[in-house]
Structures are given as structure tokens and as C-alpha cells.
Amino acid sequence: MEEHTGRDLISELPQGIIETILTKLPIGDAVRTSVLSTRWRNKWALLTHLVFNDRSAIQFHDITALQHIIVNFVTRFLFLHDGPIHKFSLCTSYLQSSPDIDQWLLFISRKDVKELILELGEGEWFRAPSSVFSCKNLTRLELVRCELDPPPNFKGFLFLKYLSLQQVLIPPDDVERLISSCPLLESLTLSYFDSLELTVRAPNLKYLILEGEFKDLCLANTPLLVAISVAMYMTDDIAEHFEQSSSCNFDKLLGGVPNLERLIGHIYFTKYLSIGNGRGRSRITYNQLKFIELYQVSFDDMKEVLVVLQLIMHSPNLKALQISGSSNTSGTMRSPDSEIWDEKFSIDCTFHKLKTVKLTDVSGVPHEMKFIKYLLERTPGLEEMSITPGLYVTDKRLNMLIDLVSFRRASPQASIVFIHEPV
């Protein structure tokens, strides 16, 4: 075999780089480096970023044996580990709630942990022990499928910048309390919450991602918000609740975000915004808003169309607009409320910066075509507009094309792409 003609260069690299290299390995491989040579015996034990996941999991027929292996491995690893632990990430579908996990979290909480990520398997949800709340220096917390119950004297994570709760059972009041008690919070993600009334008070918040059924959503103190992505589910109860409410959802959600740069709305978002939306109200101008993406916009509902129009009319610097129509349009061809369009068309409003428009799932309803006409006439800088008809819209396509061709365009270099896949 080869003699050692080469120099051992890798062992001389500084510990920081060795750690970078070892962190990019599956953790089992990282531990295995302890048998390489005397210098490598303990390099793995100084790792500060620990990521345990199913990547190094072995295929086993017997789940309990595999669970046993994983629990053993993590326990022994932590026991043999040396030094601070800055990141602890446990993402495995094989483990559920178990006292071992509580012990690990207790151990971690004593080690100055800064990032904590927990995602366990389906089944009985894990209940976060109180040691999670004693991790004073947390900057990042991601929890999936667990129960969170902050103790009454919990003062908050003073350094938390990134919070993500997905499928987390938490008393509704405590969500707001948790958010407001993290003064440095910059990114908030809440997924799969049921019937939540949420008021967000987070003065440093920049990124907000929400998904679930929200009875009421209010951004009360979020002046620095830069990007919002909301996927609003709606049940019948919530729809009824909205019919009775008198408040204006648009203002409550988008009334206090002057620095917004990107807005993404899924499912019933525009419908949500359209509720309580009085016309002619003064709105703030979104000077930084450059990208708007709205999905499931029902062009049958004039109120939703109004929401879209108001959004773009108050965004002078809008660069790209993407709207996806709703596929469940009622086939009734009511005569469109053309007075509204006449009014809109008479207002002198040009979108100078709008360069790209993408419309998908277009069903060709009158409001939609009017909207396209409206856009084409007022976008002198338009470069490309792409239109994709909905999959099930077969008979209206020719009419759509005929209309499109007849519309006047303000931009000489605009190219209109009609994406036609043969049915």
C-alpha cells in the first residue's frame, strides 16, 4: 500500500474550517472521523452545529429498533460532546414524544444554544418541556408538530430573530404574547393554525408568512415589514363571521406597512381583503412595493377586482404583477358592472414601472378581460405579458384571443404571450 508520501494538510486547517467541513457531512460520518488518527480523535466532539436527521438513517424493518438506535446515538453523542452547542436540529419522522427528547433539550438549554429546530414524526405530538423556554440566547426557533405552553412567568426570547411554528398547539393568547415578547423578531412564520385571531405587534418584523384559518388578522405595529405571504383558508364559520363584521380587513392588514416590497396572497386572500372594503377610502402608498403575486382571485366578484385595482393603484413602483384566476368561476354571464370600469378608466393612472405581468388560470370572464385591457392601456414600460388560460376553459379561448388582439397597448415593445397547451 501507499506510504505516507504526502503531507497531512487537512489536519492543520483551523478548527473553524474543520467544523465547517464536518458540519457538511452526515453526523454519523462526522463522528466516524474519530478513528482516523490521534489528531482527529476529538475534532468531532467540538462541533457546535448539531444536525440529527433521517439522512443517515438506515433502512430497517423494525421501527422500534431504529428508534432505539437513534435515541442511543443522540444520547451518547451529547454525552461525549465537548464545548458549547450553538445549533441543535432534530428532524426525524421515526421519533415521537419521549422522555429522552426532554432530557436532550434540558442538556441543550444549559449549553448556550442559539438555534433550535425540532420536527418529529406524526403521531402523538411532542410537548415542549419548560427547558425550551429557558434557552435565553435563542435566535432561531423552529417547531413542527408540538404543543407549546409558555409558563406564566415567561418573559420572552429577548434575542429571537426567527420564529417558525408549524402545526403547533398553543393557546391563542399565548401566540400574541410570544410574538410581542420577542423584541428583535425579524421573521415570523405561522402555519396551520385554526380559527386564530391574531394581532401582530413586532416593531422589527421584516418577513411574515402566515398560513391557516384566521378569523381576524391585524398588523398593529409592524412598520418595517418588507414581505408578506398569506395563505388564507376559509371555512363556513369564518365566512359568516366576516359577513357580520364591519371592520375593513384591507386596512387592518395592509394599513401599516409602508415599506412593503413583496406581497403574496394565496387561496382566499383577496376575498379576505375585499371584506369590509369601502370604496373611496384613502390608502397609504406602497412606494417600495415591487412584486405582487395573488392566487385564486375570483374575477366574478367585483369586490375582489377592486382590491386588486386598489393595490396596484397605490403602488407606483410596481415592477411585476402575477395574478392567478380562480378556477371555480360561476358560469353565469351577468352583465358586468361597467360603470365601475368606466370610472376606473377615466382616472388618469399610469403604471410606469410595471414591466412584467403574468396571468394564469384565466377564464375569460368580462371583468378579467376588462382588467387586461386596463393594464395594457396604462403600462408604457411593459415588456412582457403572458396569459395562460385555465385548463378547463376550452371554448372561450378564441374569444379571449380576439379581444386581446383588439386592445390598445401603451407600450410599443410589449410582447403578449398566450400560452396555449392543446387540450
Binding site: I21, D29, D62, A65
Partner: protein, 372 residues
Amino acid sequence: MTEADSDIIKPEMLKAYVWLQTSDGSIQQVEQEFAMYCPFICQEIQAGMGSSKNYPISLPPRVNPAMLSLILDYCRFHQVPGRSNKERKSFDEKFVRMDTKRLCELTSAADSLQLKPLVDLTSRALARVIEGKTPEEIREIFHLPDDLTEEEKLEPIKNTMDDPRIRLLNRLYARKRKELKERERLKTAEAEEEHADERSVDDLLSFINGSNEDSRGTRTSKTKKKNRKRKDHHKTAPPNCTSTSNITSCSSNSVNMDKKELDARHSMYSNPLLHGKLLTDVCNATKLLDIEDDGLAAEDEFDDCDLDDDIDPALKEQIDREVEDFARRLNSDWPERMQEILSLGQQRRPLQVTINGNGSLRRFTSLDQRQK
């Protein structure tokens, strides 16, 4: 006059240059905008250095001229703003295709220049080199000294629970240690002693191959499924059979061991903490069982092992399945084992020539012992 001057000045000359001095003393002139990609150089420029040949920026000692030119290539590509992410990624992929020695040097140099994106890139490349390899392979690639004692690699598990599987494992370890001592002794003993291995390795393997046709078949397919690059690809088949025979013998002997137990034993092997240590040595144990039958005869445990046909087919199937599982665990070790086997075979080949008749006789006797 000034207009005439400005006519003479060509555009290229208006580019700013900085002077860099590498560890070997040589001084280079580099366009400033590319050099500025490195935070270290940036700081030095702001401190006023590097503007002329007399005051070059002294680069840290780990940056030699070859590394500097690589780093500058990297900076030159990425400093250009118009590139798409895809372009950058594909450049990066091609950039790190170099031998590991240069990778290490480059990582070191980039780190001293505080060029974090390049450090990340090279670290990832090094991690890919390490990932999935056995300790021996890693040692060879990086020229690491194999200076852990066999004992350190072999530390047995303390059996606090009196678990029969752990007992078995410890017994294997004890045997292994004994074999090691035997080996040491045999090495220093006279040449005649060394005829346990006089039959060529190929003979031995073909014998085993003959008796374990189906297992071998499944094994090669399994190894081929693994998408690790193997230099000695063709060598994977025989070692599988070597261990197969032993594992079969183990399994058939401890026939009462149900599948769960065997799997649990696998669990110990697959526990990464022990993996590196266990793996080499259980494998060693099985290999030694095969080659040095002398040591084998003494142990009761493996005496009753049948190599094949006395086992009834259903049991054989179960055993084969267990064997597959087990071998998958030990799979990563095959090329290394094969190399060892071959090297041992080579050492002993000259002896085979002189002791031929004796050797073959020996061979059959040892077989008889096994088949009893």
C-alpha cells in the same frame, strides 16, 4: 496640453492595480476590482497598502503563488455582476475539481484571506470527498497517520446488561485480539509455521464461491446498487463471499437466534459511534476465521458450521436474508478487506511453492475439521 495628455492615456491604464506579495517573496500586480473581492485585501487597501511596488500588500503565509492565481480566477468570475446563479454554480462545480492536496491548500489560503464563499465551497468539496468512505480510505487520501493503537480502535463495549448479543460481540473481540497476538507471533516465527495460508487466495475464494452461488449473486447486485465510486470494482464480489461463508456459518450455528436479535446486533454495528471501530474489526475477525483455520479449530462456537447443503431451504432463505442485511452493513469495508487479503496472499505466495504437498494436505484436514 491636458487634452493631448488625455488622448495618450489609454483606457486600460486607468484601471487601478494593487501589488501583492506572496509567501515566497514574489510580487504580483493585480487589478484592484478583483482583488477587492477578498476582505483581507480590501482592509489592507483601506489601510493604504498595495498602491505601489515598494509597498505591496503582504499576503498571509498560507497563500503561495499557485493558490493566489486560483483565488484570483475565482474572484474574477464572481466579481462580474451580470452572471446568473446557474452560471455561478456551474463555475463553482468545475472550479473545485482538483486533487485533495490542492483543495486543502486552497481552503487554507482562502481562509486566511477571509474569502468566506470560497472557503464554503472548498469545505463542501472536502466533505464530499470524506463522505461515505471508510477510515482507511480517508487516511490514504489525506495522508493521515494511522497512529491509533489497535486497542483504542477495539475498545469493547462494557456489557452492563448481560445482553447475549453483546456477549457474542465481546467474544468476537476477544478472538480478534487473540488473532492479533497470534499474527504477531506468527510473523516473528519460522517460515514453516506460515502455511495456513499457502493455498492461493484465489483457490480459497473460488471454493467459497462455488458453495455460495446465490448469496454471491444477491450481494453483487446490492453492491452495485450503491453508487459510490470504487476503484477496484471487480474485487467486490469475492470478499462478499468470503464473509458470506463465515456469516452463514455464524448464522447457521446460532440458528436459534431470531431475526430480531440479528438485526439488533446490526444495530450495534450501525451505531456510528462504534461503527468505525467495530466495523474494521468484526470484519477482520470474519476474514481471519476464513484464512487462518488453525485459530478457528480451537473455538467451539464455529465448529458446527455447515457451509451449505445440510441446512434446510427455508432456514437457508432466512439466513440469506439476515446475511444480506448484515453484509449491507459491512459493505463499505469490502475493498479494504480485499486489499488486505490480496496483500497477505502476496506475502505468502513464495512459501506456497516450497510447501505445496504439505499445504494441500493441510487444506483438506482443516476442511474436515469444519465439516464435522
